[in-house]
């Protein structure tokens, strides 16, 4: 194992197809037009000294270290800013160039501390490297004059010196080491798109400064770390590097947080992570990341982590630490007893979107082959199940149609119910980059999300619809497209079912579906809807990105089909720059769905009633599989309350916190005789558990995740599991206690089994992933290298299906008792229920969940910014602090659900999507009033959490 060092070509790649041939140091080189001479040289293997250039940002030409000579031209141009030209002959090293470079370096070093031996960047400093490269041997100027290095110059205060800024918990800024190369500023602008950094002052006075000379933590900075990565010196450095030292080896792995699926180099010293550096060759992230993936991995070492298995007879007792064998025997015996007493169908399992494909696959296999039923579901139920259903109806596959890179070719971007800069930050940055290049933007969201207006990005149309009216909006947009003759008829004729199209067109064309007729339902001016529809239909390549704001509704599936209708009607499918793109929440939502986590589907979306598909699995597994669909999560809960469902195995999910209507969920859990929780921490669900199996983090096991673009990527073990086993091993141990006789020794064998049984994964193996880095399924004989863009020559189902999308108002209506609509979302620094991120320094950015309320609604209720307010719905009530803001419209309030004490889901109801039972998180009718502290429920819950987390002190001999 070695430390992976990527080549820095100095300037970004040119996309031109025209090739140019030139000579560099006598060697012939051919590169695309627009390539810099610096990059061309590097491609030919010659590294020209450089400081202000790096290939993640555009060339700047300030340091003058990269000078070259071009035969027949005067002077010594900078190779980073000089493009190649046909036939020129370049020299990268001459006595004149060497002298210039030494002079440049001498000046830099004369204003730079010489404490290399004790510097955190020692061994990883480009300034050091360049001093070596140019042969700098002595520095003639001393520090006596003006400098930025010392706090005092011969006893006098040095006003040019600035102290370190250590306000950010993850990285430090030491201005005394800055060479003002501007790389950080450009990274923040070009890569991240936040524009948090500027160079203040001029000439000798110029300094990097976050915002208006603020501390990093106080500034606009979102702590993505792009500037730290771009900095050639120790000026911006990870605090972990300062503490630990330079890494010695690295492994490529995949972020375990969101559906973007950024890949990282986990840079290690022994088994200790020194830092996570986004991998340049990562096809989802291209060397960028957000705060979560880069910095928030510390939860793996958090003191709350449970490392020993535990059991208890009843949930009122304290936990007892026991050996693995005892815990697993306890679990298996109870499972068997429950099935004997209440029947085969009285038990089930929930798979996790945070666990690997292999782990998810094993859990569903345990259910189908071991429990003998199909009672397996996944938390994707509560987020993107309508995507699966809706897209499958329309196109014949339930996945997003594009890869992330496709956005580079989009001319119009329509974002519906998604907040990419917070929930999918790295893709959000990509999208912003394309918007800065001129693509048009339409945002459909009740809230004024950041994209609507942020530095250098502004939505052309923001349609702030009332929560719960997506279907009406999509239909109104379709109305305009059909009535104004904007349908792409050739596409529809060739690709879609004609009868269904005509029925749909007749339906949307009805007057009652016009923007004018729906204006009062939607709360959006009809003219804006018309203009947005025209832009989407006629603005060139138009892509739709949508998120949970579309799916988590009573009509979630209908809205997804409506979105598919729009794309088909305008011909925006089957090529780059277009498509229908669900932005998945958790990292492996796609994978957990692919792996057969749903009660009606075997891996690869093969319906359980299909004889043929079942037979393949039955032969391989040597068991009979039930042909009837099993219980979905909400059905499990209902069934538990009826006393029919008694045992549940939950892997890596916190259903008590993440699922709606907390009271209902807790009543259901309390009614079960066995709840097995496998997780890192005593999560909220564990309050109701009888067996706790300690799980491990993504750093401690091998496996694969599949991101929102269907990209399968490896996670690699960089440290031994602190709890003793990878999660897949734990499932195997449990299965074997139930007599399954599994003998997987490596997750790669599980992947081989998946490939053997699932047509769309036939070509996937660890070997292929190790070789190619990643692959986007389907990957089989028809598409040996996977499929970045789907439906190129026709839809998977044959003809595209238009579906009539009749708007039905949700049951959650505002009335005199509950006059406001509550909608929920997430923020950048926290992740889902926050079990991991809350246990890192990320919490400093989001210490509690707050309620956003419009000034008008606040005033009516006497609520001031920062007040405690009570949120009441028909399901329950909770309290949190109010933030008065115009981000939300009047009549709408908004909160996040990252903290357990907020208990936002006490308020959400059991309404759900008609097709999939995906809960309607996004709309709850509520009342808000000023309050003076936590509700009784919150107090009781606090007590419960304390008592349910008790662990009995045992005599140290369990194992």
């Amino acid at each position: 194992m070695t430390l992976i060092k990527e080549i820095d070509f100095g300037t970004p790649e040119s996309k031109s197809e025209k090739m140019i041939t030139l000579t560099i140091d006598g060697k012939t080189v051919t590169v695309p037009e627009g390539t810099s001479i610096m990059r061309a040289a590097m491609e030919a293997g010659t590294e020209i000294p450089k400081l202000c250039a790096t290939d993640s940002v555009k060339a700047f030409g300030s340091c003058r270290l990269c000078v070259i000579e071009v035969e027949g031209r005067n002077g010594t141009p900078a190779s980073c800013t000089t493009p190649v030209a046909p036939g020129i002959s370049v020299k990268t090293q001459t006595p004149r160039l060497a002298a210039i470079r030494r002079g440049v370096m001498e000046l830099y070093i004369s204003d730079h501390p010489l404490d290399c031996l004790t510097c955190a960047a020692n061994g990883d400093c480009e300034l050091q490297d360049m001093a070596g490269a140019v042969g700098l041997r002595d520095v003639r100027y001393g520090y006596d004059g003006a400098n930025h290095v010392f706090a005092r110059n011969s006893g006098e205060i040095n006003f040019d010196w600035k102290p370190k800024d250590e306000s950010n918990p993850y990285f430090a800024y030491d201005p005394s080491k800055c060479i003002v190369c501007n790389r950080c500023v450009r990274a923040c602008e070009e890569v991240q798109g936040t524009f948090a950094l500027t160079i203040s002052g001029r000439g000798f006075d110029s300094r990097v400064s976050p915002g208006m000379d603020e501390a990093f933590f106080e500034s606009e900075c979102v702590s993505c770390g792009a500037c730290v990565q771009a900095c050639p010196t120790a000026t911006l450095t990870e605090k972990s590097v300062i503490e630990i030292g330079q890494p010695e080896h690295s492994e490529i792995t995949t972020c375990a947080y969101c559906g973007v699926g950024c890949t990282f180099k986990a840079e290690m010293r022994g088994e200790e992570v020194v830092r996570m550096v986004p991998w340049k060759d990562g096809k989802a992230n291209h060397g960028h990341s957000c705060i979560k993936g880069r910095f928030a991995y510390g939860y793996a070492h958090h003191g709350d982590r449970i490392l020993n298995p535990m059991v208890r007879e009843s949930i009122h007792e304290p936990w007892r630490e026991v050996s693995w064998d005892e815990a697993l025997t306890f679990a298996a015996d109870r499972l068997k007893a429950i099935q004997a007493k209440y029947g085969k169908n009285s038990v089930g399992a929930i798979t996790s979107s945070r666990c690997s494909n292999e782990e998810t696959y094993l859990v569903q296999k345990l259910v189908r082959a071991g429990f003998g039923n199909n009672n397996v579901d996944t938390c994707a139920r509560v987020c993107h199940s309508p995507t699966g259903y809706g897209l499958n109806q329309a196109f014949g596959t339930s996945a997003g149609t594009q890869d992330f890179d496709s956005v580079d070719d989009s001319d119009v971007i329509l974002v519906i119910g998604a907040n990419p800069t917070d929930a999918h930050p790295v893709f959000g940055s990509r999208m912003k980059k394309r918007l800065r290049e001129g693509a048009k933007l339409i945002v459909v969201d009740p809230r004024r999300i950041d994209l609507v207006r942020s530095p250098h990005v502004e939505a052309d149309y923001h349609l702030p619809l009332k929560p719960g009216t997506n279907v009406a909006m999509v239909t109104a947009l379709a109305h305009v497209i059909v009535k104004e003759g904007l349908v792409n008829e050739a596409f529809v004729r060739e690709r879609c079912d004609q009868d269904e199209f005509r029925d749909w067109a007749d339906f949307v064309a009805q007057d009652r579906n016009s923007p004018e007729a729906l204006e009062s339902v939607l709360g959006v001016p009809a003219a804006d809807i018309r203009a947005a529809a025209r832009l989407y239909a006629t603005g060139g390549n138009a892509a739709i990105y949508y998120g949970l704001g579309v799916t988590e509704h009573a009509q979630g599936s209908t809205a997804v089909m409506g979105i598919a209708n729009l794309a088909m009607a305008t011909g925006n499918l089957g090529r780059r720059g277009v498509g229908v793109n669900p932005l998945r929440g958790q990292n492996n939502v796609q994978g957990s769905c692919d792996m057969g986590s749903f009660p009606h589907e075997l891996p690869g979306y093969q319906h359980i009633s299909g004889e043929k598909a079942r037979e393949v699995f039955e032969k391989d597994w040597g068991v009979k599989i039930d042909s009837e669909p099993g219980l979905r999560i909400p059905n499990m809960f209902d069934s538990a309350i009826e006393g029919l469902f008694k045992g549940l195995y939950v892997q890596g999910e916190d259903i008590l916190q993440s699922d709606p209507d907390t009271r209902h969920v807790s009543a259901a859990l309390a009614n079960m005789e066995l709840v097995i929780v496998q997780d890192l921490f005593l999560v909220e669900t564990a309050h109701y558990a009888h067996v706790f199996l300690p799980g491990c983090s993504f750093l401690e096991k091998d496996g694969t995740f599949t991101n929102a673009e269907r990209r399968i990527q490896r996670i690699r073990k960089v440290m031994s599991p602190k709890n003793g086993y990878g999660d897949w091993e734990i499932t195997q141990l449990l299965a074997n206690k139930l007599g399954m006789n599994w003998s997987y020794v490596n997750p790669s064998e599980i992947m081989d089994e998946i490939a053997r049984l699932t047509p769309s994964f036939a070509g996937v193996s660890y070997e292929k992933l190790d070789r190619d880095g990643s692959v986007q399924w389907p990957c089989n004989d028809d598409a040996p290298d996977g499929m970045p863009i789907m439906h190129i020559n026709g839809f998977a189902r044959g003809k595209g299906k238009f579906v009539i999308t009749e708007y039905v108002a949700t049951d959650e209506k505002v009335g005199p008792r509950f006059p406001l609509l509550l909608t929920t979302g997430r923020i950048l620094s926290q992740y889902n229920v926050g079990a991991q991120t809350r246990r890192t320094e990320n919490s400093r950015w989001h210490e509690e969940d707050v309620l956003e309320i419009h000034p008008h609604d606040a005033e009516e209720r006497g609520v001031r910014d920062g007040d405690w307010v009570k949120v009441q719905s028909r399901a329950g009530e909770t309290t949190l602090k109010a933030v008065v803001t115009e981000r939300v419209a009047t009549g709408v309030v908004y909160t996040t659900f990252h903290h357990p004490m907020t208990q936002a889901n006490v308020v959400t109801t059991d309404n759900s999507d008609w097709a999939t039972n995906c809960p309607e998180y996004k709309v709850t009718a509520v009342q808000i009033s000023v309050s003076n502290g936590p509700t009784e429920w919150q107090e009781k819950y606090r007590e419960l959490s304390e008592s349910a987390r008790r662990i009995a002190t045992v005599i140290d001999a369990a194992e």
Partner: protein, 77 residues
């Protein structure tokens, strides 16, 4: 409790009906029946079939029609 759960199933069935009864192409009633067969666990189907046999209180006529087309379910085990 059991009463409560039928109420839930009725609500879900009506929601499903409101989607399918808006469809024009094909046979929307069959579409709804297929949906129930594909996604509802047998016990849930048995319960709603039974509810329809007892008059189907609260169900939309369209939903009743679709449920009537469901084959009987055996819920042994």
């Amino acid at each position: 409790m059991s009463h409560n759960s039928v109420d839930k199933l009725v609500k879900m069935a009506n929601q499903i009906a409101s989607f399918f009864c808006a469809q024009k192409s094909g046979d929307p009633v069959a579409g709804m029946a297929e949906h129930l067969t594909k996604f509802w666990e047998p016990r849930m189907r048995a319960e709603i079939i039974d509810h329809v046999a007892h008059g189907g209180a609260g169900l939309e006529p369209f939903a009743i029609e679709a449920i009537k087309r469901l084959p009987a379910v055996s819920t042994a085990a």
